[in-house]
Amino acid sequence: MPGKRNKELNNEQLGYLKFSGKLEPKRKIFSNCIKAFITGGTICVIGQLVQVFFKTYFDFDEITAGNPTIAVLIIIAVILTGLGIYDHIAQWAGAGTAVPITGFANTIASASIEHRSEGYVLGVGANMFKLAGPVIAFGVFSAFVVAFVKIVLKELGVI
């Protein structure tokens, strides 16, 4: 694994990493990308169909249909996680199931299930955002920065 850590390694260790790297099977990046594209795309198509459904049969427009659509995808992902199916799909799909909202739902559901044995408060409550926490923290922070930049640009009359 290249990166910061390698700076502290000596020549013998670096030599070993180079040697062992040649004998290790690599992740199949190309086929993984194709699989991620197919599954990620499929999830989006399902989302689109759900949105059309809400627009056609209920009193929603293009924008307000977004919330119930997301809720449906989250519920499906949580049910699949609870049934122990989601992680098997994810091993095949990779980023395809991790990037959409379903991946976010899976992080919270899986952590909640995992720590159920430590009780509702210290187990489920304390651990449910274990994996989702960084996404929320940095997501909110990025949103703040973008909003701040937008306000400044607006005040300056740029946009």
């Binding site: 694994m1 070993y16 990493l17 004998l23 989601y86 994810a90 991790a98 952590a111 044995s117």
Partner: protein, 333 residues
Amino acid sequence: MKQGNQTWVFENKPVIISSAAVGGPHESEGAIVDDFDILHKDLWLGEDSFEKAEKKLLEEACSIAIKKANLQNNDIEFMLSGDLINQITSSNFTARTIGIPYFGLYGACSTSMEGLTLASLIVNTGFAQNALAATSSHNAASEKQYRYPTEYGSQKPPTAQWTVTGAGAALVGKSGEGPKVVCSTIGRVIDMGVSDPFNMGAAMAPAAVDTIVNHFQDMNIDPTYYDIIATGDLGKVGHNIASTLLSDKGLNMPAEKFTDCGMIIYKENQKVFAGGSGCACAATVTFGHFFNRMKRGEIKKILIIATGALLSPMSYQQRESIPSIAHAVSIEN
């Protein structure tokens, strides 16, 4: 008696009077199902947590080993056990159940041979008539401990390994019927800078190689002496690296003799990435599969090199590399 740099020769030849191997659902579809005493179809073993399930596996392995020797719990003088759960609770709680003097060990996945070595030492010196060495691991409990929640959808690389759900126990006695522990080579902690916890094979291979080279040097024998030389849980990736490193050092391991417990326990079509791992990998394959083969007379002399990756989830997050260790035990009929 110490021989060479780091090998203990047990001149009184402690005997492994009985042994037991218990496995979980994935193991019950594996390649060596006949070598397990109990196979559980349920990952929870009817308990309400994975940690309690692992403790149950260990309790079963210990009580089967004791029963096979026609002994009672209080006939056993010492127990040595270790596992992968925080503060080795599976072992501690099993020792509470059995209620005999106990040493808790932590050698990660090398614990099986660390325990067997120390149990043999205790018996060889005459400090006890018998000692029980045991260890366990549980796939879901280890995933929870070291990686992500079991149901979390992350894609694992082909170098990842599958933690064995199971437990193994071996009862070492002063005399009796069974394979004899001849000598043990105690490993050094080796760190070649691998820091990817999904590549334990590459992290542990140099430790295995170091212990193997020192074993043959200390004992002044060559690999043809043994019928089987098996590493604990290097998997396909680590096995390949270790074979290459050994031949570079002038130790040519015969391909039909040099193997890895992590490559034996599962079938080729089971999705276990590079192979099995965990404390129970070396323990169940050795105490179950290899001892059965020795009983049938198919093999007579084996060398087991149990390998352990001495990382913690925190040390990984703090960007430390993975130090590893390997202990070798020579067992003969």
